[in-house]
């Protein structure tokens, strides 16, 4: 019981600090924090299908791209507010996600094969969008740049600060949703499937249905982040939005932070983004190509060697926040 209260206090403290932080730091730091929050949110969304339900998806940039393109195209072509486009993006991503999951799991494509199949769909869609003239193909899709005098929350046109608070809300929302789901029937089913699918099946859990549900939810959540990404970046190219590198980025933060944990994706996003920024700062003084990536790779190696289960479980114990089980 004591841990539960301490965890609640720690979470409230985190939320308050994050909410007040932009008042005290420079715009540069805010822009870095936005990158952190994007990484955290995408990681949280991915964590549902891989961390909770145990299905390794290596192609989540697909859903980022679907969300981004759906909302951006509806905005640019028809002037629809991004919130509507976001719903469309969620629906499309959920549909595509469940289709991929249903196809794979129906044909019992699991484990590594499933992971490679998600990469294949990701890459295939990227190349399709490269040739999809109506949304700009390789030359990209551009959103009219905002007039920054007043933040327009309805049209998502405004200052970085507005995006910061949107993303903070999104990330805290995802945290709440994950917490809620893990303590519901569906969350326990997911964990049972993750730990031992055959045992779960033997207990009468409709494994197929719950795995597809995890993928659909994860894809839809990812698409919401994609919509914000489109309106924050104001430009979309298939080769960057759908990049397989983005899929890899999405999954490194939660793995580093602690796969399947509630706070792992957020912690991982902080660690990796800060690390990346620090490397950029340091290596810019040397002007050596690749130094940044080298240090980044070495840091990944170090973390996976020392804390293969992720940083959050370790930090949680250190802070005395670890509950009996998770």
């Amino acid at each position: 019981m004591r841990e539960t209260r301490r965890r609640a206090v720690a979470l409230a403290l985190f939320a308050v600090v994050m909410a007040l932080l932009p008042l005290f730091v420079s715009t540069y730091v805010v822009s870095v924090l936005i990158v952190v929050l994007f990484a955290a949110y995408f990681g949280q969304a991915w964590n549902i299908v891989t961390g909770f339900a145990g299905q390794l998806s290596l192609g989540h940039a697909l859903y980022v791209g679907l969300g981004a393109y759906a909302s951006a195209v509806l905005f640019v072509r028809f002037g629809l507010p991004p919130w509507l486009g976001m719903i469309a993006g969620m629906a499309i991503a959920a549909l595509v996600g469940s289709l991929i999951a249903a196809l794979s799991f129906r044909f019992s494509v699991t484990g590594v094969y499933f992971a490679l199949l998600t990469i294949a769909f990701n890459e295939f869609t990227r190349i399709l969008f490269d040739h999809f003239g109506w949304v700009g193909a390789t030359s990209g899709l551009f959103l009219p740049v905002a007039n920054r005098i007043r933040d327009d929350l309805l049209m998502l046109r405004g200052s970085p600060l507005m995006f910061y608070y949107c993303l903070l809300a999104l990330s805290l929302g995802a945290l709440g949703l994950s917490h809620f789901l893990l303590r519901r029937r569906i969350g326990y089913y997911w964990q049972a499937i993750r730990e031992d699918q055959e045992a779960a099946e033997a207990l009468g859990i409709d494994v197929f249905r719950y795995k597809v549900a995890a993928m659909a939810l994860s894809a839809a959540m990812t698409a919401v982040g994609g919509a914000f990404l489109a309106f924050y970046d104001n430009n979309l190219y298939p080769d960057t939005v759908f990049a397989i590198g983005r899929s890899v980025e999405i999954i490194t933060a939660p793995i580093i932070g602690g796969l399947g944990t509630l706070f792992g994706p957020i912690l991982g996003a902080f660690v990796l983004t800060t690390l990346g920024e620090a490397m950029t700062q340091v290596s810019s003084g040397f002007a050596i190509d690749g130094l940044k990536q080298w240090c980044y790779g070495a840091a990944l190696l170090l973390i996976v060697a020392l804390q293969p289960a992720g940083l959050w479980p370790w930090l949680e114990r250190r802070l005395g926040l670890a509950a009996g089980r998770r």
């Binding site: 199949l117 890459e123 040739h131 796969l259 190509d289 790779g297």
Partner: protein, 286 residues
């Protein structure tokens, strides 16, 4: 006739792809680790061959044995020192480990050579043979011949040598192999070394055909995945068949549809095979 030319060129390139993918397939088939740093290791071999060519003028074909040995040693050391500790860990941890290794390789190459594309100048680069009206580029023929020799050598090794048989025993039943006294750790290290040696050879051969640049690595990792899944992960002849298939499909789609579409067709093939026959064309039942 034009189509025949294109198909033959695709087959020849595909043989090199097959050798590269064979490494991936062997590693997965025995150790059950997906080598996400496969393309990076091949690019490393390409740079080794490039440097050797630059410094001494040696033909990448003649440098091939050295590159093969180099990559074997690298693979052996990596498996012994690092990867071995992760073989029983969850997929995502192995993924992160190999991602880190791949990142470090690419970054090291970037530090050493910069992002520019490099190639080797060969005197016979534009020679070709003509057989019954079909034009064969000399470089492609040599590369394909080298690849087929590599595949044959590895197949013979697994079939006839004691170590090769022991490795196959490990792949079939790891516990059983331990029970009869095989040094599984060492055999795994040799296997990873052999897998890496395949990309050492394939990299030297591919340098005859394409320019090398640090960032092409992930494309070749993906290509390797496509091929081994087409052929069947863990199946040796499947890797070669998959390589030939992808080589031809790339060549044809680049010509008929559009060059930028060539990998889309490969991915479409992959999706189709995964859904219809997930164990691959020549793979054993799952």
């Amino acid at each position: 006739m034009l189509y025949l030319n294109i198909i033959v060129a695709g087959l020849l390139t595909g043989a090199v792809y097959g050798l590269m993918a064979l490494g991936l397939s062997v590693i997965f088939g025995v150790i059950r680790v997906v080598n996400f740093a496969h393309g990076e290791m091949m690019v490393l071999a390409m740079y080794a061959a490039y440097v050797a060519n630059r410094k001494t003028g040696i033909d990448p074909l003649l440098f091939l044995p050295a590159a093969t040995l180099l990559l074997f040693l690298l693979g052996y050391a990596l498996q012994r020192g690092l990867i071995n500790r992760y073989i029983a860990r969850p997929d995502h941890e192995q993924f992160l480990l190999l991602l880190a290794i791949g990142t470090i390789i690419t970054a090291s190459l970037l530090m050493g050579f910069g992002p520019d594309a490099r190639n080797v100048q060969l005197q016979y680069a534009y020679d070709s043979y003509e057989i019954a009206g079909v034009l064969l580029d000399k470089v492609r023929v040599l590369a394909a011949a080298g690849a087929l020799i590599g595949v044959a050598a590895l197949t013979l090794f697994f079939r006839f040598t004691r170590t090769g048989k022991a490795i196959r025993a490990c792949a079939d039943n790891q516990v059983g192999a331990q029970v009869v006294g095989l040094d599984v750790k060492r055999l795994y290290a040799i296997t990873f070394g052999l897998g890496a040696a395949c990309v050492g050879a394939a990299g030297s051969l591919l340098l005859l055909l394409i320019d090398v640049q640090p960032y092409i690595a992930p494309d070749y990792t993906l290509l390797g995945f496509i091929i081994v899944i087409l052929g069947g992960l863990g199946s040796m002849s499947g890797a070669l068949l998959g390589g030939l298939l992808v080589g031809v499909s790339e060549a044809l789609s680049g010509f008929i549809i559009e060059p930028s579409f060539k990998s889309a067709l490969s991915f479409a093939l992959l999706i189709l095979v995964l859904l219809v026959r997930p164990q691959g064309l020549l793979g054993r039942g799952a």
